[in-house]
C-alpha cells in the first residue's frame, strides 16, 4: 500500500514536471526585448554593467524593497527573541582563530573590490556584503567577535543606513521628476553612494542573522 502510494506520488510529480517543462517550451517569445532596451539606455544609467544598471537604476524599486525585507527579517528575529541556548561556547581552536585572523583582512579587501567592480563588471553591494558577513560569521565561530541581542545606537544606525540612504536618494528624486529617477549626470555617484551604504548595512544584517544572541561580554566590545 505504502509502495503503491509512493509510486503514484512519483508518477504525479513526473507528470507535473514534464508538463511544466513542456509549457515552458511552448511559451511565446517575450513581447518586449529587455536586453536591447537596457543596452540602448546604458549611457543614462551612470554605470557600465547592465546588471548593476537594472538593479540600482532601471528597477531600483526591487532592490529597495529587498533591502527593506532583509532589515525587517532581522528586526523580526530580534523582536521574537533569541534562544537562550545560543552559547558563546564555541571551543577554543587555535587554527580556526589564526585562520579567521588571516582571512578577515582579505575578505574586507575582496568586499571592497566587489563593491567597486559592480560599476563595470559582475559584483555589487549584495555580493560584497555577503563576503563581509561571511568574515563576521567566521570571526564569531572563532570566538573573536561577540554576539549581540540589543544593538547599540551606532549599530542600529549602521543597520538602517543602507535603507535610509536609498530612501533619501529615491525621495530626493521626486523633486527632479520621479521616485528613484536619478539625473543621468549624477547617476554614477548616487549609485556608488547607495551601494556603499547598502554594503555596510547588508553585511551587518546578514551577519546579524547569525550573530544575534545573548552576549556574555560587556557591551562596549560589541561592534
Amino acid at each position: 500500500m505504502n509502495a503503491l502510494l509512493r509510486g503514484c506520488t512519483v508518477l504525479a510529480c513526473l507528470g507535473l514536471g514534464l508538463g511544466l517543462a513542456w509549457s515552458m517550451l511552448e511559451l511565446p517569445p517575450a513581447p518586449i526585448q529587455m536586453p536591447g532596451l537596457v543596452a540602448s539606455h546604458m549611457d543614462q544609467s551612470g554605470v557600465d554593467h547592465p546588471v548593476t544598471a537594472v538593479l540600482l537604476n532601471f528597477r531600483g524599486y526591487d532592490t529597495l524593497l529587498e533591502v527593506a525585507v532583509l532589515l525587517l527579517a532581522l528586526l523580526g528575529m530580534l523582536a521574537a527573541g533569541t534562544t537562550p541556548l545560543h552559547a558563546s561556547s564555541f571551543k577554543e581552536a587555535p587554527m580556526l582563530t589564526a585562520l579567521a585572523r588571516a582571512l578577515t583582512p582579505i575578505a574586507v579587501l575582496v568586499a571592497g573590490y566587489l563593491l567597486w567592480a559592480g560599476a563595470f563588471k559582475p559584483g555589487g553591494a549584495f555580493q560584497a556584503a555577503a563576503v563581509l558577513a561571511g568574515a563576521a560569521v567566521l570571526l564569531r565561530i572563532a570566538g573573536l567577535l561577540p554576539s549581540w541581542t540589543t544593538p547599540a545606537d551606532g549599530l542600529r544606525l549602521a543597520l538602517a543606513a543602507g535603507l535610509l540612504v536609498f530612501l533619501g536618494v529615491a525621495a530626493s528624486g521626486l523633486a527632479l521628476g520621479g521616485l528613484l529617477a536619478y539625473p543621468p549626470e549624477w547617476a554614477g555617484t548616487l549609485i556608488l553612494l547607495i551601494e556603499t551604504s547598502l554594503t555596510v548595512s547588508l553585511a551587518l544584517i546578514l551577519a546579524g542573522l547569525f550573530l544575534a544572541g545573548p552576549d556574555s561580554r560587556p557591551p562596549e566590545e560589541q561592534s
Partner: protein, 91 residues
Amino acid sequence: MPDLPILDLTLAAALLFTGWRTLAAPDLFKAVVLFIVFGLFMALAWARLEAPDIALAEAAIGAGLTGALLLDALGHLRARRHGRSLQDPQP
C-alpha cells in the same frame, strides 16, 4: 561523434543527484552539508550560464551564509535535545 557538453551534463547530473540526496538524507547534518554542496554546484551552473552576478551571490549567500545559518540552527536543535550544554555545533 558530435561534441558532447560533458562538463554541463555532469554538472546537471550532479545538481539533480545532490538535490535528491539533500531531500532524502535521513541525517540532518548530512542534509545541510549536501545543501551547501548543492549551492556550490548551482553557483557553477550559473557561471556556465554566463550569469556571473548570480553565481557570486549564490556562492556567497546561498551556499556560504545559508549553510552557516543552517548549521547553527542544527547546533541549537542538538543542544536542546541533549540538555543545556552546547559542546560542539557539529557532531
